[in-house]
Amino acid sequence: MSEFTCSISPTEGAPEGFSFDNVHRNAQIQGQLQSNNATRSASGNSSSASVLPLATKTGTTIVGVVYKDGVVLGADTRSTNDTTVADKNCEKIHYIAPNIYCCGAGTAADTEKTTELISSQMELLRMNTGGGQSRVVTACTLLKRMLFRYQGYVSAALVLGGVDHHGPHLYQIYPHGSTGKLPYTTMGSGSLAAMAVFEADFRDDMTEDEAVKLVQRAILAGIFNDLGSGSNVDTCVIRSDGSVRMGRNDITPNEVGPLRESVRRSDVLNMRPGTTAVLGETFVRAKGLGVTLADVTVSEMET
C-alpha cells in the first residue's frame, strides 16, 4: 500500500481507488498453507493452522452521547483473540484532536492505526490552515473516505465525538465507510446491550452528570451481558468550553484481587527459585551500542 509522503498537504498524492496488490499476495499465502497442510496430512503428521493467523479483535462495547454542553464517550477495556482475552485493560478511546476523541471497535490494529493516521492528518491540516480548531465533520470525512477506499477490509467501527465552534457532534462510522450523525449511538458486539440502556433512559439536553452516569450504565450492560466485552469502564467528556476529562478506568467492577484474597492460596503455587530445572547457564557481556566517538573537529560552513 502507498504511504503519504511528507508533503505540504496531507491529502496530496493520495491514491485513488482500492489497491488489490495484497489480495493476490494473501491468496497465494493461503494456497501455500493449504498445500502444506495436504502434504503433511498425507505423510501422517498433525496439521498446523491452515488459515492465516487471526487478528486481535476488540469484541467491545463503545458508546457516545450528546448532552447539553458537549459529548460523552464510553468504552469497555477487553480485547480478544477469538475466545481468549488478549488484553484485560486496553484503551479504546483514541485521541484525534484536542477537542475530538474516537472510540474504536473491530480489529485492534485497524482502529489504532486508522485513528492515529487521521489524527496526524488533522494536525497537519491545523498547521496548514492558520492554526484554528479542527471540526468534527472533518475527522469524520477523512475517516469515511479512507475506510471506503479499503472496501471494508480495514475492520474499524468507530464512534467519533467532539465539540467545535458549531457545537457538540457525535458520529458513528462503519467499516465500509458509511456514517451516521446521531444524538446517541453504540457499536461493537455489546452494542445491543448498551443500546437497550440508551433507548430506555436517553433524553435530550441532559446534564454532564446524568450523561456520564448513562454512559457508564450502558457500558456496564455490555461488560456483564456480552462475552466480547469486559473488565473496566473508560469514559471521556468533551465539553463546549473546550475542556476534556479523560476518565481512564472510571469504574472497575471486575477486580480479581478480592476474589484471589478469598482463596487460601496453597503453598505449591509459590514457586521458589530452584523449582524449575536449570540445564545450563551462560553469561554474555553486553557489547557497546555500536557508536564510537571519533575525533571531532569544527569548521565553519561556507555559504
Partner: protein, 172 residues
C-alpha cells in the same frame, strides 16, 4: 448444573452441547436404575466408567456432543477420575479438564497436581488444599476465557458422601 451425581459416590461433569449432555444423563440414570434393580446394589464407579464409555460408543456414528469427566470413589475407597472423548474413549487419570477453558487449567494442574517439571519435594495434598487450588485455577481460567465465569460448582466426593459448595467468579 454442569455436575450431575450419578450415585452417592460418583459424579459426572460434562461440557459440550447441552441438549446432548441432558439426554446422555437421562439415559445413564435409567441404565443405572436398571443395574441397581438387577444387582441389588448401587453401581460401583469403575463400572459406571465402563458403562459411560459403552453408551457413548453405541452412538459412534451420530455421537453425543458431550465431553465428559467422571469422578468418584472406587471399590478400594480411593479417588478415581476418568476422562472421556465424545465417542467413548476413556482412561483413568490423576486429573482431568474439559471445555473452552481446558487449555488454561490443564498446564496448571500438570505442574501443581501431577508435580510435572518441578524439582521441589512432592507432598500429598489434603482435600481442602486441592479445593483452594481448583478455585484459584478457575479464577485464572475466568480471567482469560470469555466463556468461563459467573460461578463454579465444587463437589468433594469422599467415602462418606458428597460435599457441595459454590464459588463466585467474575461476571464479565
Amino acid at each position: 448444573s454442569k455436575l450431575h451425581p450419578l450415585t452417592g459416590r460418583c459424579v459426572l461433569g460434562s461440557a459440550g452441547c447441552k441438549t446432548d449432555v441432558d439426554q446422555l444423563r437421562s439415559v445413564l440414570d435409567i441404565k443405572m436404575k436398571v443395574y441397581a434393580h438387577n444387582h441389588r446394589k448401587p453401581m460401583a464407579t469403575p463400572s459406571v466408567a465402563q458403562m459411560l464409555g459403552n453408551t457413548l460408543y453405541y452412538k459412534r456414528f451420530f455421537p453425543y456432543y458431550s465431553f465428559n469427566v467422571l469422578a468418584g470413589i472406587d471399590s478400594e475407597g480411593k479417588g478415581a477420575v476418568y476422562s472421556y472423548d465424545a465417542i467413548g474413549s476413556f482412561e483413568r487419570t490423576p486429573f482431568s479438564a474439559s471445555g473452552s477453558g481446558q487449555s488454561f487449567l490443564i498446564p496448571l494442574m500438570d505442574n501443581v497436581i501431577s508435580h510435572k517439571n518441578r524439582l521441589d519435594e512432592r507432598r500429598d495434598l489434603p482435600a481442602e488444599e486441592v479445593v483452594e487450588i481448583v478455585k484459584d485455577a478457575f479464577l485464572t481460567a475466568g480471567e482469560r476465557d470469555i466463556y468461563t465465569g459467573d460461578a463454579v460448582d465444587i463437589m468433594v466426593i469422599t467415602k462418606d458422601g458428597i460435599d457441595k459448595q459454590t464459588f463466585q467468579l467474575k461476571a464479565d
